[in-house]
């Protein structure tokens, strides 16, 4: 009960206003658009891209897009693309002939390309959704440089410590009480003694392990230091950064042998098949537990990454914000904007949820009363944090995060004793970046 209350209070903070009728006003915004825009929309074709998501992703897109067509008379042509390839070619796709609207990520990834003139400024659309969008989410979607939003925020998810309650009970610990570093080490040690993986990690793609680094750095040195580090205001060679890697090194003996072989899906399978004690990951994979069986899903649990430095407690979390962006080079920008707005509107969200979307929406219109225990816990984990990070590859510039930090963490895991050299290289590469 108290947990639930916690959730509500936290959500109110995020929203910045109480749930009210404002959402309805936003829903009606489209109809009050100038008549010319509405007629222009009618009969036009809007193109939509879903990034990954498989059959469920297609189903959700179809439901929302069909509702949009019904409402506006604009036809939507949707496609699903391989998420990695889309990201690897993002700059090219946006310079070419992109689809009008697409699911994308807040942070550096939308800010940068918005400032470069590849994404549309969505100030007006967000303005109309103000009634249902919390101020914190709007702030998160707004570029600190140009003060413009290039993405309409829709969903977010926590990166937390995931484990199976039954397994934690098996080793004689209380699954509700994994609170500090000692608990965590004990959990890993006892799991490992049973011949299982203490802490599972995948780093094949180079980004997965950033989640572990982010949270360790925030726990040990605090949110401000972490953000400073990612933006060049603190140094990678700083003793504080080294301290973070000391803790990281303590995790390595507990890890699976094949860290570099697997990605997030490999980690998921380890937990799904009861082969690991704990892992640090975004909660999005929970759907796959549900798909396997209700019992597996009920067994899954998530908590904030344990406290290390009491000064910072568990005040920070990686909670990447996702949303909808509109491509400047799309053929039907008006249509794209209308579609993006619709996806983030209470009507759109209702359609998505009906079609099986289990994401947590930032919208105030989003009803969490029917939430199951795990989803409520996700909200609680989010609520426990005061500072929201977006994840390393969205908090840092693109020509640094992927090409430099990712490989640096990989080489560290391969050979922890090289850490000083690795950090020197990382700092040198930061300093060699063009200033822009």
């Amino acid at each position: 009960m108290s947990e639930e209350k916690n959730v509500v209070s936290r959500r109110s903070v995020l929203k910045g206003a109480a749930i009210g009728g404002a959402a309805l006003a936003a829903g009606g915004a489209l109809s009050t658009e100038s008549a010319s825009a509405a007629t222009r929309l009618k009969g036009s074709t809007v193109k939509w891209t879903t990034r990954g998501g498989g059959a469920t992703g297609d189903k959700i897109a179809k439901a929302v897009n069909d509702a949009f067509t019904k409402k506006t008379g604009a036809k939507v042509v949707a496609q699903q693309v391989n998420s990695d390839d889309f990201q690897n070619n993002f700059a090219q796709i946006m310079q070419g002939s992109p689809d009008d609207a697409f699911g994308w990520m807040a942070g550096y990834r939308s800010n940068h390309f918005g400032e470069m003139g590849l994404l549309e400024d969505l100030t007006r659309e967000i303005g109309r959704l103000k009634g249902s969008l919390p101020t914190a989410a709007i702030k998160g979607a707004t570029s600190p440089v140009s003060k413009k939003p290039y993405i309409i925020p829709t969903t977010y998810y926590p990166w937390g410590l995931h484990y199976r309650k039954s397994m934690v009970k098996d080793i004689g610990m209380n699954p509700e009480k994994i609170n500090d570093w000692d608990d965590f080490v004990k959990l890993m040690t006892l799991t490992q003694k049973k011949g299982l993986v203490g802490y599972s990690l995948g780093a094949k793609g180079g980004w997965e392990a950033m989640g572990t680094f982010d949270i360790l750095n925030a726990r040990i040195n605090g949110y401000k230091y972490h953000i400073d580090l990612l933006n060049g205001r603190a140094k990678w060679t700083d003793a504080r950064t080294k301290e973070t890697f000391k803790y990281f090194a303590q995790l390595i003996p507990f890890m699976n042998e094949n860290v570099m072989d697997i990605s997030w899906d490999g980690m998921r399978d380890l937990l799904l098949q009861k082969k690991t004690g704990a892992m640090m990951m975004g909660s999005w994979f929970a759907n796959d537990f549900k798909a396997k069986s209700q019992a597996d899903y009920d067994d899954l649990w998530v908590v904030p990454f344990p406290e290390i430095n009491p000064k910072f407690g568990v005040d920070t979390i990686d909670a990447p914000l996702d949303g909808i962006s509109v491509a400047k080079n799309g053929k039907n920008v008006t249509g794209g904007k209308a579609l993006a707005e619709f996806w983030a509107s209470p009507e759109g969200i209702t359609e998505a949820v009906k079609a099986g979307d289990t994401n947590i929406y930032v919208s105030k219109s989003f009803d969490t009363s029917g939430y199951d225990a795990f989803n409520k816990q996700k909200l609680a984990v989010l609520a426990s944090a005061k500072n929201i990070m977006f994840f390393l590859d969205r908090d840092a510039r693109g020509d640094f995060a992927g090409p430099v930090v990712g490989p640096a963490i990989q080489s560290f895991i391969k050979k922890p004793s090289d850490i000083n050299k690795i950090l020197e290289n990382t700092q040198a590469q930061w300093e060699a970046l063009p200033k822009n």
């Binding site: 094949n258 570099m260 098949q273 693109g398 020509d399 063009p434 822009n436």
Partner: protein, 303 residues
């Protein structure tokens, strides 16, 4: 005789009508233009861009960087040396192991053993597969829960590290690459071998020559043109190799190769002209085999 031919030729050229000359110009012009526009102009653009800072989006953001990109690659980037090493190992492995194996295989199959056509086809089969398919096939074999891990009695909980294990991944990847390369070399060599007179071999054998001697003294010299092609194909393939690794890893960081570094830095979200600089370094490495090849192929013409 010679002069007569020259006269004839000159006459025929002079006698070309305007239409004929126009036809000839079109015949050569269109393909040449296509080559220049699609290959050589972009190559030059890349070379120029390698001396700039740019994120590849707005022209007005281009800044002169001098040799900064190269300096950064040479002095601060450990991935570069790993990539160089991997490319070098790849090259050495192909030259010293995979290619000779392909030749050996061809030599043995050429003895006319039973079912040689069948074997030929089997060994060649991987060559006609797309690397996209090859990536999927080998993933079935090696992933946690896959065939090889299963044979070793490993389930996903204690799966051994293959793709990410620096001690073996090089050999695994080279193994898969060779799976393709050996068949290619075999078939190239086989078709050449068929033109070698078997009586020659037999005679040498009766005179007491060992297999190795026969190969070195008779086969190798007869096969000179094929040998050159094979050497060049091996060099170029090793330096261009990257599709397979892209398919398996998706990113260049665990098994860096120069091509992959170009791709990671020259496209996508982290685009910078360091990617162009990597491409130029790769080009410089390719120039030696390219020139060698050209010199051998056009030996007579160049004289």
């Amino acid at each position: 005789m010679k002069t007569a031919a020259t006269v004839k030729k000159n006459r025929s050229r002079r006698s070309l009508s305007k239409t004929d000359r126009f036809t000839l110009a079109t015949f050569v012009g269109i393909p040449t233009l296509l080559q220049i526009i699609l290959l050589w102009v972009p190559a030059v653009v890349t070379i120029i861009l390698s001396f700039t800072y740019w994120n590849g989006i707005r022209l007005k953001d281009i800044q002169w960087a001098g040799i900064q990109n190269y300096k950064n690659i040479f002095f601060d980037n450990p991935l570069f040396y790993q990539a160089l090493k991997n490319n070098a190992i790849w090259l050495a492995f192909f030259v010293l192991i995979a290619t000779p194996l392909g030749i050996l295989l061809a030599y043995q199959i050429d003895r006319g053993i039973k079912g040689h056509a069948f074997f030929e086809s089997i060994y060649y089969l991987p060559v006609v597969l797309s690397l996209a398919v090859i990536g999927i096939i080998w993933n079935f074999m090696l992933q946690p829960g896959g065939f090889v891990q299963g044979l070793m009695g490993r389930d996903i909980g204690n799966a051994i590290s293959i793709w990410g294990n620096p001690k073996i991944n090089t050999w695994v990847i080279l193994g898969i690459a060779s799976w393709r390369h050996i068949g290619y070399i075999m078939l190239l060599y086989l078709s050449g071998l068929k033109s070698v007179d078997p009586a020659l071999k037999e005679a040498a054998a009766i005179d007491g020559a060992t297999d190795w001697q026969i190969f070195r003294k008779i086969i190798l010299p007869t096969m000179q043109p094929v040998n050159i092609i094979i050497v060049v194909i091996t060099l170029i393939e090793s330096l261009r190799a990257f599709d397979l690794v892209y398919i398996i890893y998706g990113s260049p960081t665990i098994f860096p190769l120069l091509n992959l570094l170009v791709f990671q830095n020259f496209a996508g979200q982290g685009i910078s002209m360091k990617g162009a600089a990597y491409a130029v370094i790769l080009l410089l490495l390719c120039i030696v085999p390219i020139i060698t090849y050209l010199r051998i192929s056009f030996k007579e013409d160049l004289k």
